[in-house]
């Protein structure tokens, strides 16, 4: 067995030194009736070449974005991943290390996390970012817990513009603490400010909006921040950092906590995971933040060094009174994002946003030229938009799949009110040629 070094001769030698006649002697505490009396009923071991063939076959059954033009969004995006990232994160010192419990032997990981924290704070416009949560949804769930703990209030008002999958995760997380969720409806594709004001009360811990929202529209963050703060509630904004190279950061518009999906920053889509949960907040909230934090300090020689800090918030010390139960962060994904932002840099990240929105607007124009196809909402959009189709979106998707097009996310499953709608995302990777092919195929499909 190539991953096990000890030969049977060495095993015998070791048993001799231990003073046992066989490995069975070492398992003596396990009662006989607990012992599995047969081998595990699993497929037999496969040699590497057979295994590769088997997995290539499974992989080949999927419509990967190298073979299909991907216009899917809703929380996972086909943004370009620069070539150096995979090489760097595959260095064994990065990917086979673990949590930096011994900081002296983990400065590589600690420094890259410190850079990541800086980059996320810069992009979101907030004072401090943590070392990551699992994904945007769990990050949002953590933010709602934090808002409850900070304000002492028990109600969350979540805009209908927030990704319904994220909302479902929040609903799961609020079961334990018994928090209540109310909804703020949309008007023309963005949160209706007047309706929002009416749903707030002295029980509201936080107002949650998404920017751009689930339907692709740009919310008026500043106006909503003012409404939330008037009611004594925090404003939590869900915003993906890749868009914030171009868009106004929520921190500059009054957000108290910003969470988001960092997957677009160099993390493969990988059928939905692992992802990258961004979490950032204002300085005065830092001690209530969940997740790991890396801080700068000095060593005994006065040299700069980095450590995990403010650890008394965390489960390994605070146990049941911890700010969260989280133990790992998604360190390797955070490293991908760090390297991505270093590569794209000041101008490049802005350029990704410019290209994405230019192509999205081109696509929207071309697609809405087709008779019966229209934009569902009037609000300005960024890189995603919602189309209303004259024929069933499910059937359109099925037809366009044959043209190697992943046409969009059908919204019927999320809300029957949008059963004729398709959510289309356009990133900097989509070419004019792909968009024109999409328009031609869609025209044929709805004719």
């Amino acid at each position: 067995m190539r991953y096990i070094s000890n030969t049977s001769a060495q095993q015998k030698e070791m048993l001799g030194i231990i003073g046992a006649s066989s490995i069975e002697d070492l398992l003596v505490r396990i009662p006989a009736k607990a012992r599995l009396s047969r081998p595990l009923n699993l497929p037999r071991a496969m040699a590497e070449t057979e295994l590769v063939r088997h997995l290539q076959r499974l992989s080949g059954l999927n419509a990967g974005a190298d073979d299909y033009a991907c216009f899917l969004g809703a929380g996972s995006y086909d943004h370009a991943i620069p070539s150096p990232i995979n090489h760097l994160i595959s260095r064994g010192e990065f990917f086979t290390a673990y949590t930096p419990y011994q900081p002296e032997a983990s400065q590589g990981t600690l420094r890259s996390i410190f850079e990541y924290q800086t980059m996320m704070a810069e992009l979101t416009g907030m004072d401090v970012a943590n070392a990551s949560i699992y994904d945007a949804a769990s990050s949002l769930a953590e933010a709602t817990q934090m808002a409850h703990s900070v304000t002492g209030r028990d109600t969350l008002v979540i805009s209908r513009g927030v990704n319904p999958l994220y909302r479902q995760v929040v609903e799961t997380y609020v079961e334990g603490p018994g928090l209540r969720i109310k909804s703020a409806p949309l008007g023309e594709g963005v949160t209706d400010a007047d309706a929002l004001r009416k749903t707030l009360s002295k029980h509201t811990a936080a107002v949650v909006i998404q920017y751009p929202n689930f339907f692709g529209s740009l919310e008026e963050v500043r106006a909503i921040a003012d409404i939330a703060h008037e009611a004594g509630a925090l404003l939590v904004v869900v915003a993906d950092p890749i868009n914030l190279g171009l868009l106004t950061p929520p921190g500059a518009s009054g957000a108290d906590i910003v969470v988001g999906e960092g997957q677009g920053l160099g993390v493969p889509m990988s059928f939905g995971g692992p992802n990258l949960g961004v979490f950032a907040a204002k300085q005065e909230l830092v001690r209530r933040m969940p997740g790991r934090l890396v801080g700068a300090t000095v060593d005994v020689d006065g040299q700069r060094g980095f450590v995990l800090t403010l650890q008394t918030r965390e489960q390994h010390i605070r146990r049941e009174k911890a700010t969260s139960n989280i133990c790992t962060n998604v360190a390797l994904c955070a490293l991908m994002a760090t390297i991505y932002v270093a590569i794209l840099g000041k101008r490049g990240l802005r350029r990704v946003g410019e290209l994405s929105t230019a192509k999205a607007h081109y696509a929207a124009r071309e697609l809405t030229k087709i008779p019966g196809v229209s934009l569902r909402f009037a609000a300005p959009f960024f890189k995603e938009f919602t189309l209303r189709l004259p024929k069933s979106p499910d059937r359109v998707i099925k037809r366009l799949l044959k043209d190697r097009l992943l046409a969009g996310v059908p919204l019927k499953g999320f809300d029957r009110a949008y059963k004729d709608c398709l959510l289309v995302a356009v990133t900097e990777k989509r070419t004019k040629e792909e968009i024109d092919a999409y328009a031609a195929a869609l025209a044929a499909a709805v004719a």
């Binding site: 001690r287 650890q311 008394t312 009174k321």
Partner: protein
């Protein structure tokens, strides 16, 4: 060699109380700060908050540990040490002086009778503090 000022009263949870007329000044003992190590943060209530005798009123944190703070007496918080947020190290360097945490206007001065004397507290900590 214990640092246990005779004029103060003590709790089993290692807080001290200094009676000042109707008020009591509160902090943690030299033994407590030594057990904790370097104090990095103290979470205290605001002026005007009410505290209950032997219930928690805040938290003291070191790098590797966190401890609840128990109020020796009940009443209204009338003063909070404004130095501690900037200089938590005062709890280590001067736990009975500049490291004080709260002043409480006692709602029931008889609460003090339930506290330990310096001699009793010294016995407690000599035995390891449990």
């Amino acid at each position: 060699m214990a640092n246990v000022p005779a004029e103060l009263k003590y709790t089993r949870e290692h807080e001290w109380a200094k009676v000042e007329g109707e008020r009591a000044r509160i902090g943690i003992t030299a033994f407590a700060q030594e057990q904790l190590g370097d104090v990095v943060f103290v979470e205290l209530p605001k002026v005007g908050a009410r505290v209950t005798a032997m219930k928690t009123f805040g938290v003291v944190e070191s790098v590797k540990a966190v401890s609840d703070l128990f109020a020796p007496v009940g009443g209204e918080v009338v003063e909070v040490n404004a130095e501690l947020p900037k200089k938590p190290e005062l709890v280590n360097s001067d736990p009975y002086g500049k490291g004080w945490m709260l002043v409480i206007k006692m709602s029931n001065p008889k609460d003090v009778d339930g506290l330990m004397s310096a001699a009793d507290y010294e016995k407690l900590t000599a035995g390891g503090g449990h």
